[in-house]
Amino acid sequence: MRIKVKLFGGLSSQRDFSKNEEGDILLELSKPVTVAQLIELLELNKKPFIVVLNGVILNELSTQIDSNSELSLFPPIAGG
């Protein structure tokens, strides 16, 4: 299954994943994963605070990720 991961606000992965032109991580996984498992796999420099799966803000990181999903991760941020 394919998953695109977008990292924002200074988040970065310590691992060397393949990326597209915009710097998004492109993952090919052999088995389904939850959001929490994927975040662990990414080995991020900081813990993400806001997790957006296919445009929807998640409260529950045990959500299973479907193939061709987009996961966007953010540290604590604000503005106005």
């Binding site: 924002f8 606000g9 445009g55 929807v56 941020i77 604000a78 503005g79 106005g80």
Partner: protein
Amino acid sequence: MKILRINMTNLSVRFEELGEYEGLGGRALTSAIISKEVDPLCHPLSADNKLVIACGLLGGTAAAMSGRVSVGCKSPLTGGIKEANAGGQAGQVMARLGIAAIVLEGKPKEEGTYKIYINKEGAKIENDNTLKMLPNYDLVEKIKKEFGEKIACVSIGPAGEMKLSGASVAVTDMELRPTRHAGRGGVGAVMGSKGVKVIVLDDAGTTPRQPKNPEAFKDANKRFVAGLQKHPVTGQGLPAYGTNVLTNIVNEVGAYPTYNFKEGRFAGARKISGEVQAELEKQRGGNPTHGCHRGCVIRCSGIYHDKDGHYLTKQPEYETVWALGGNCGIDDIDKIAMMDYLCDNYGVDTIEMGATIGVAMEAGILKWGDADGAINLLHEIGKGSYLGRIIGNGAAFTGRAFGVERVPVVKGQALPAYDPRAVQGIGVTYATSPMGADHTAGYSIALNVLKTGGFVDPLKPEGQVDLSRNLQIATAFIDSTGMCLFIAFALLDQPETNQALVDMINAFYGWDMKDSDVVEYGKKVLKFERDFNIRAGFTKQHDRLPRFFYKEPIPPHNVVFMVKDEELDQLFNW
């Protein structure tokens, strides 16, 4: 602290005790004076309107973050009461001069371009026609030559002099640049109608205001600053990237209004995001981490340089980048920064102008994404051409001028940078705020998107009225303290930081304010404002979004605004 009344009809000045306004600051003070002293049915540009400039309760003290200045009047844009506030130095300087509010009253019998100089000796008014139609940057340079650099200026650009409804009031920052604006509602037009081009504030020979209980004040301020520095948003996120860090998150959740609120995502969002902007600023010798006034510890403002490394403008804020960027299909951050500069220089609100250019694009005057065309439209305002005067009067006026149906305004004021269909809570605030569409009035994004202070699902109507009500009450209080609203992110999550703010006010004034008093204070401010608007002719039908938000689903979530009218009508029933 005193009220300085400046009568522009007979060109006289008078200092008064606060009297019935004792205990009020910032927005509470501007809204109380307007509500009690201005005829709600007056023409906003007439002698009967007043322009009130007020520092907050903690202005001029050693309290961190306390430099906001409120500007209030009857708005020429909405026809209702208005309070717009800004950072910069003026709030602190006027407070150190012992002035709680400057009230501009009347109207000159003969046209003139007046400058008002205020120092510890008093205030004097002078007609200076050499200032006529100067843009804000040129104006401040000229004022610096006359009065030196240890001053703060409150001024209007050509848009204010032309009394355009999108005109702002500019406040100089720490570098004495006119970059901080009380932008919303056409407050600059009211200043222009009084013939006042600039107020020069000089606090030489003054000292900070002293608290009733210095030790308790110092301790509370220390706890308050520690709380702001500890919170990840006010301590890390905002200083690193500024407000424009919101572009990516709002875009990712499908709430980034694009092409005049037709879509919720913009393909060019990343190119104009806070992350890109901050990196450019570092590369070019600008600065992404900078305070807009002395005493700011969050430091979310910045300095933006052009490709050649020369100062172009202050770091454009999220709202500005959205309005003049994604909303118009423009993804060139340098062009957006140029537009930010032009708005500051001519003295117009960036949110209103971005929404207006979007409406002009909808009308076919420009193509979507035409950055140079948008820049030229802003220059038309500076020239005072007929087209420029239409644009400078805002989105509603421009929509009428060009027969556009989809005009994103509430009470005549343009919607800011969050689509109310994808974030239902902010739609409630836009609809019901006495100010017209104003995100700051009840910033539900904090809980609907940013998960600060909890989480309320942005795509569902449930809970949004309660959320907006509580935030509107809290905001009315914070806007009265002179504190930057961004302290709210820490206050929402950290009760001890909230307590530190209340302790600081109590220590300063010798009060015994409790949380329940804070709520009552906020309600009192909103009541002044609602009462004024009702007497000005506003009804519950004015507390609605434009109908297209109820009919046109916005992609990617394909939702409409779902909060029922009857629920909106309950917002002020507390």
